[in-house]
């Protein structure tokens, strides 16, 4: 038995039965981290802390008082503030930043007994779709093309390190964050399950802010059941985040026991794109067939403002980012580059500290919020956003879930899109609309492309209906029976 191939659910059962210890499980994953170090999955490794926590977990278990994730080793995207462990957001500007507090979502996971192996690599400030904007270098996808194994592929982004670490068997699950697709798109590229909850389901407190009206934490795992297990522990009301909603967290794992007979699954015609690769279309058709076979009713729907979601996103997200990132000024945390006066110190620090994509997005955001342009861009975008959300609300009159592809392609080659921002932004064309409307969505690995790379399907649900989302995802998972392992896994 290979310990790193276990799912969270399997490991939990074996730990409970006393067949394995958390120390053994954690040591196996530390060896896997060493074996996959060339993939650059982590910004900070916390192996010693992990081992001492694992020991505590084993003791805790003996007392019969264990948490639901007791002794389970996981990775945490380096966007979460972790007490005493550097949080860099993969940016030079936060070099050495060591939070004196713990984010609510990570605290919830540690309270449930989880063990942190390290902080995973990501796009700088979560801005990117390929994990190539990290100050700490790109992550390599553990998957390789069958006919071109030497070509290095991107893991997607921005939670690229988290998705790749789960795929490479170095962690049992990982925390990610999703603003416009940053959990779902890398999940699709790496052949894992990536879930973005409803906006307001998880606290954003202690999560370094990118676009506050869109950011949401979520799990990356190898199975739908593991996703449900992790979300159940992460979610919940938090007085420290005024947008976190005070409603009960259901038992998500239990929701997987129900089938989808009679559930209405919508297929939005606007997601059929001109020139979409044939294999993306066929995997989508396959998903439709799987739902029909499971007894769901498949319905055609229209979401007429879909094509406007991405340009709307590229006004709203940079606008919010430009104001959130104003705090990095060389005064309160991170690096300072001196100048002849205060003004020049700010300008030097921000020019040196931020990478190219982050600077670009701050500039876009500053522009659309500046005097004379606010109405034409930001206000306009927020109005279009109302219409995008209304499309979804209308669709819920006739359907319970929506089924779409997760991304318009499989993982691409490192460097391929770095000089073409719009080509890079188009990666999120299928994930951004649900983000704009704050809806829960999940990507499930559905099959392989002709060159042997994973492709995901996305399900979108009504606000706070994560239970049905997991049920639907469970059906896709069962039908797809995706068992392939990446070639560069530990």
């Amino acid at each position: 038995m290979i310990l790193t191939d276990l799912t969270i659910a399997e490991a939990r059962n074996m730990l409970n039965a006393g067949d394995i210890s958390s120390v053994e499980l954690t040591e196996a994953h530390i060896r896997a981290m060493e074996a996959t170090s060339s993939l650059n999955l982590f910004i900070t490794e916390t192996c010693e802390k992990a081992l001492s926590k694992a020991k505590e977990s084993d003791t805790q278990r003996l007392s019969g008082n264990q948490g639901k994730l007791e002794g389970i080793p996981i990775g945490v995207k380096d966007l979460f503030c972790t007490h005493g462990v550097m949080a860099s957001a993969a940016s030079k500007i936060l070099t050495g930043f060591t939070p004196c507090y713990e984010s609510t979502v990570t605290k919830n996971l540690w309270d449930a007994g989880a063990v942190m192996l390290g902080k995973t690599n990501m796009d700088e400030f979560a801005m990117g779709s390929s994990n190539e904007t990290s100050y700490y270098g790109p992550v390599t996808n553990p998957w390789q093309r069958a006919n071109e194994p030497k070509v290095k592929l991107v893991p997607g982004g921005s939670s690229g390190g988290s998705a790749a670490a789960v795929a490479a068997r170095t962690v049992m699950g990982a925390l990610g964050t999703d603003t416009g697709g940053s959990i779902r798109q890398p999940a699709s590229f790496c052949g894992v399950v990536g879930m973005k909850p409803t906006y307001g389901r998880c606290s954003r407190w202690g999560m370094i802010a990118f676009a506050s009206s869109l950011d949401q934490a979520g799990p990356l795992t190898r199975t739908v059941r593991d996703s449900a297990i992790m979300l159940e522990e992460m979610a919940g009301y938090d007085a420290k985040d005024s947008t976190c909603v005070d409603i009960g967290v259901p038992e998500y794992e239990a929701s997987l026991e129900k089938d989808v007979k009679g559930v209405r699954v919508g297929v939005p015609k606007e997601y059929f794109l001109e020139g979409m690769p044939e294999e993306i279309r066929s995997i989508w058709d396959q998903g439709i067939t799987w739902f029909k076979e499971a007894g769901a009713e498949v319905v055609d729907v229209s979401l007429p403002h879909t094509k406007y979601a991405l340009p709307t996103y590229y006004i709203v997200a940079p606008a919010e980012a430009s104001s959130n990132l104003a705090r990095y000024d060389g005064v309160r945390y991170g690096i300072r580059i001196e100048g002849k006066d205060l003004q020049e110190m700010y300008e030097n620090t921000r020019a040196e500290g931020f990478g190219r994509e982050v600077r670009r997005r701050i500039m876009i955001g500053t522009y659309v919020l500046s005097a004379g342009y606010y109405d034409a861009y930001y206000l306009k975008a927020q109005k279009v956003r109302t219409k995008i959300a209304a499309d979804f609300r209308n669709s819920w009159k006739t359907v319970d879930l929506l089924l779409t592809p997760t991304a318009p392609s499989a993982a691409f080659v490192q460097g391929e899109k770095m000089n073409d921002p719009i080509a890079m932004y188009l990666n999120d064309i299928f994930t951004v609309p649900a983000s704009m409307a704050g809806l829960p969505a999940i990507s499930v690995p559905a099959g392989l492309s002709s060159d042997g790379l994973p492709l995901g399907l996305q399900l979108i649900a009504k606000p706070f209906d994560e239970e049905l989302l997991f049920r639907g995802a469970g059906i896709l998972e069962l039908a797809a029976n995706f068992k392939e392992k990446p070639t560069l896994a530990a």
Binding site: T243, Y314, D329, G334, M363, V384, R385, K387, P421, I422
Partner: protein, 95 residues
């Protein structure tokens, strides 16, 4: 829409980011392309549409207006590049 060098310089100043002459060139062309692409939104009729102001339909939670946190200036300044005692420091701004 084309974004010219002067505009780039102005935005860079507002954003407090130093931009070299060479970068100004690149940014002007990149931002022009991005704004051309965003112009697609002009096709959407947004008359009589309210801008979205909250993502989830939920009323804000209220609490008593009492201080419930604070009192740890050392922690607050712990990550500052240059702190003196409990204070953040900046280059001299008053002669």
């Amino acid at each position: 829409m084309s974004v010219d060098h002067k505009t780039i310089q102005k935005i860079a100043h507002l954003a407090r980011i130093r931009v070299s002459a060479e970068e100004r060139e690149e940014l002007a062309s990149e931002l022009s392309n991005i704004f051309d692409w965003i112009e697609e939104l002009d096709k959407v009729d947004t008359n009589d549409v309210d801008p979205m102001t909250s993502v989830v339909q939920a009323s804000a939670t209220l609490r008593k207006d009492n201080p419930n946190d604070g009192g740890y200036p050392k922690k607050i300044t712990a990550n500052a590049p240059e702190a003196v005692e409990h204070f953040f420091t900046v280059p001299k701004v008053v002669e």
